[in-house]
Amino acid sequence: MDWLLRPEAAGEKIVVMVIAILLFAAVMALILFAVDRPKRISGTVVAVAFAGPAIILVTIGLIYPAILTIINSFKNKNGSAWVGLDNYSQAFSNPELLLVLRNTAIWVILVPLLSTALGLIYAVLVDRTRGEKVAKALVFLPMAISMVGASIIWKFVYEFKPNQPGVKQTGLLNQVIVWLGGEPQQFLSTQPWNTFFLIVVMIWIQTGFAMTILSAAIKAIPDDIIEAARLDGLKGMSMFRYITIPSVRPALVVVLTTIAMGTLKVFDIVRTMTGGQFGTSVVANEFYTQQFRQANQGLAATLAVILFVLVIPIVVYNIGQMKKVEEIR
């Protein structure tokens, strides 16, 4: 049975995958067959058969672990003793962890604002132009690839070589600086600017998301409004300011809050580009470091809970706005 758990060759792995899928299909078929047979069967039994698997899975996969994590956040490093609020007071007083919180705040403020602004401007500029489709695909593309891939792309842009005769820069950004007559920089290890260079990567990814939603919102502005405004003599910037922005306001809020939620949980970029070194760590990355590098389970649990608590207000606001957008539609 060991090969079922740890297949080694590629062929074995695929066989195990097929077995898993068949096993799953068999279980589901059995459940459906059981509730389909009896002629008279109560609604509750059918409901349990249909919704039961999902409810069981989220209970053991999300609810129960979340409760354990909250409990662990009040315990020490290895979970052997209660420490009350020590982990929380440490998270908000230890200088290194304060830096982590400060970085997270910078991320959550800058990424949504800048990527939404860029996405909006771009959506307006390419709206109803000849190359609109291609132009949008180019900016949306980063959304498709993994954040690990995006991080490697940008790490290469930031690549640094010392400025010596005979040594050519291989990172594009440093080459541009050299062309302009400057000194090459170590973008990823120079504090505090390195955090901003990591943020650029997230903006590069999220602008496509903002652009797509806002572009749809712009296209949904009723023709009469635009026509009336034009007849009133509005054009260019004033059209943008007085018609476009107010019309897409609800969509703007949804985009801002959605990106903020994603940014709060950002982990891949920081981990791949700096590993959280050089003062660039954020809460989601510090969680991983504390749990798996420092073996401090209590503090890691606390950071996870902090993440959870920070997401809640954004989510509540987001849901409210989303409802408004849907009503307008």
Binding site: L5, R6, A10, K13, M17, A20, I21, F24, M28, L32, D36, V46, A47, F50, A51, P53, I55, V58, G61, L62, I63, P65, A66, T69, N72, L125, D127, R128, T129, A135, A137, L138, V139, L141, I145, S146, V148, G149, I152, F156, V157, E159, T170, L172, Q175, F209, T212, D223, I226, A228, R230, L231, L264, K265, F267, D268, R271, Y288, F308, I312
Partner: protein
């Protein structure tokens, strides 16, 4: 001064209320033409289009750099910038080394594939059934359970990882594909149920009622009435979940070991341990991106819809 014009459009539209569909269509078409004209005139302001083109170029250059570099000989990569090597020489040596050299990515690519397929199929199936129950079966506590499910969408995975990891270790399945499949299935469910439920609710109740009157049970209604109508929704969520799992780092990092590691984890590790070896990193990164890119270009419509719908996950 502008009043008469506005009035005349309103008049036209009320006249249309009588049902002259064709005329309304013509009117709309002419308006669209007008608007695109106005957009064109706006963009003929040269610096507006210049800005748009500049942004598009800025957004594309980093990826082009990666792509070009991955085809350059190793020595060239180290000695000069990729912008000097646009005319060649090119080689596929980096891809060969990255795929099958020591610590090559080939096996990890297979792992990603093996992880992704069940991690998409399982949550979709379970979620379809649950969404059906929430939409079309009357039972006690239905609304409460659905709202709870909805709320679970936003639980950060970090709060669930460590207790799950311990459970997997106790069960002896930690580091196997099974733990990753189960995790992705559980994490994907809330969003899947929410999305599919919304689509199911949009199906006219009359259809379901008619089937019921004909004596069809829930299982039959589910398979014969609803499932065919849900194909676009399933495609949209399927693509979203596929890319989410394929591109995932956190779950893979936590629950897999060397034998089951997905390609994202392998590449992230490569970036940490051999960060200077750009010939391997660029080719490797591109190998990991090829699947999402193919999906993106071939299924763009579903893809955008799925991504937008699922943007709060995680």
């Amino acid at each position: 001064m502008s009043y008469p014009a506005i009035e005349s459009t309103t008049l036209v539209e009320t006249a249309d209320g009588g049902g002259d569909e064709r005329r309304r269509g013509r009117l709309r078409r002419s308006k669209i033409a007008e608007r695109s004209e106005s957009a064109a005139s706006r963009l003929s302001s040269p610096w507006a289009s210049a800005v748009a083109i500049l942004v598009a170029i800025l957004w594309t250059i980093p990826s082009v750099g990666l792509l070009v570099t991955s085809f350059r000989p190793e020595l060239d990569i180290r000695r000069s910038g990729w912008w000097t090597g646009l005319t060649g020489p090119f080689t596929v040596q980096n891809y060969e080394t990255a795929w099958s050299g020591s610590g090559g990515l080939g096996p990890f690519f297979v792992n990603s594939f093996v992880i992704t397929l069940p991690a998409v199929l399982i949550p979709i199936t379970i979620a379809l059934l649950a969404a059906y129950a929430f939409a079309w079966i009357d039972f006690k506590g239905r609304n409460f359970l659905f709202v709870a499910m909805f709320a679970l969408q936003v639980v950060p995975l970090q709060v669930a990882l460590v207790p799950l990891l311990k459970a997997y270790v106790d069960m002896g399945i930690n580091g196997t594909f099974w733990s990753v499949w189960i995790s992705h299935a559980m994490f994907g469910l809330p969003l899947a149920i929410f999305l599919l439920h919304n689509f199911m609710k949009d199906i006219p109740p009359a259809l379901v009622e008619a089937a019921r009157v004909d004596g069809a049970g829930h299982v039959k209604i589910f398979f014969q009435v609803l499932l065919p109508l849900l194909v676009p929704a399933i495609a949209a969520f399927g693509i979203f979940q596929f890319l989410w799992v394929w591109n995932d780092l956190l779950v893979g990092l936590t629950f897999t070991d060397t034998g089951s590691r997905p390609i994202t984890v392998a590449i992230a590790e490569l970036a940490g341990s051999r960060g200077g070896q750009w010939h391997l990193l660029t080719a490797g990164a591109f190998i990991s991106m090829i699947v999402p890119l193919v999906v993106f270009f071939s299924l763009q419509r579903y893809f955008v819809r799925g991504l937008l719908a699922g943007s709060v996950k995680g």
